[in-house]
Amino acid sequence: MLLWQDEAISSGSYVPWGWLSISVPNLIVIIVMIVLFVLAITLPFPKERRNPRRHS
């Protein structure tokens, strides 16, 4: 069978964990979401630059 056909019909990589089985791309996306959430609530937000002409 041709290589591209092999790739097209492969089921991908899965991480088995007891009764739970999750695909590697899904696991990566979930981890990225959690990391971004933690960063979003911990990293300081840049302070507003005030316009000197407006506030002088």
Binding site: A8, M33, L36, F37, A40, I41, F45, K47, E48
Partner: protein
């Protein structure tokens, strides 16, 4: 525009007048398009709502190009594959941003302060988005779409909607994906954003008393209101 517009004191005689009076009273222009936000909005967690909207704009724009050119273009030509990928990755980012937005609002209990309708429209928008994504995966016309359609078929039959929504029906799924789902989602998103403007951005838990005391209720409130807390 400066200050709130004057509201006609006379009661409206028609439903159009009642709607106009309500909008003039509750949603003046400076609440629809505010220039300042309360101080607590200066946090990265408040960015993910607008990021979700930006991803949605990219999805609609790239999807419009795909709809005009058709699958013989986006499956074959290099530019077509680029737009196909643009559409796909914009969807991935849309869901990623939306889930982080959901996590932030859930842990903030964003339904506080008479914001239940904002929360509910957001949740329904999430469910409709999942339907839009499923129909999008099914109309790819490749091995992936075959696999997804015949896995989804069993689930949809199990919950009893397989007779009306048939994932093996390409025409039905195509029309639902390019018109019905985006139309419903557009209405939900508009209502969701209008409700956010109407009730203001939800404050953090420890700033709730500031809002209850009348400070920083609206998006047009000055930053000083919460800087003083």
């Amino acid at each position: 525009m400066s200050g709130a517009p004057t509201v006609d004191d006379e009661p409206a005689s028609s439903w159009i007048g009642k709607v106009r009076n309500r909008l003039e009273r509750d949603l003046p222009y400076d609440k629809v398009l505010p220039e300042t936000q309360p101080a607590y909005v200066a946090s990265w967690i408040y960015v993910f709502g607008v990021l979700t909207l930006a991803a949605l704009v990219m999805i609609v724009a790239s999807g419009t190009v795909l709809a005009f050119e058709g699958p013989s273009w986006y499956h074959i030509s290099k530019v077509g594959k680029f737009f196909n990928s643009l559409h796909f990755w914009a969807v991935q980012l849309f869901f990623l941003f939306m889930v982080i937005h959901l996590l932030g609002k859930f842990w903030m209990a964003a339904w506080r302060g008479n914001r239940a309708r904002t929360w509910i429209t957001g949740m329904i928008a999430l469910i409709v988005s999942i339907g839009a994504a499923l129909t999008g995966y099914v109309i790819q016309t490749n091995f992936d779409s075959q696999w997804i359609a015949f896995e989804a078929k069993d689930g949809l039959n199990a919950v009893g909607i397989g007779a009306w929504f048939n994932v093996a029906n390409l025409g039905q799924n195509l029309l639902m994906h390019v018109f019905l789902m985006p139309a419903i989602l557009a209405v939900l998103v508009i209502v969701h954003v209008v409700l956010v403007r109407l009730h203001g951005v939800v404050p953090p838990m420890d700033a709730a008393e500031v809002e209850a005391a009348g400070g920083a209720v609206h998006a047009s409130a000055t930053t000083e209101t919460t800087e003083a807390r």
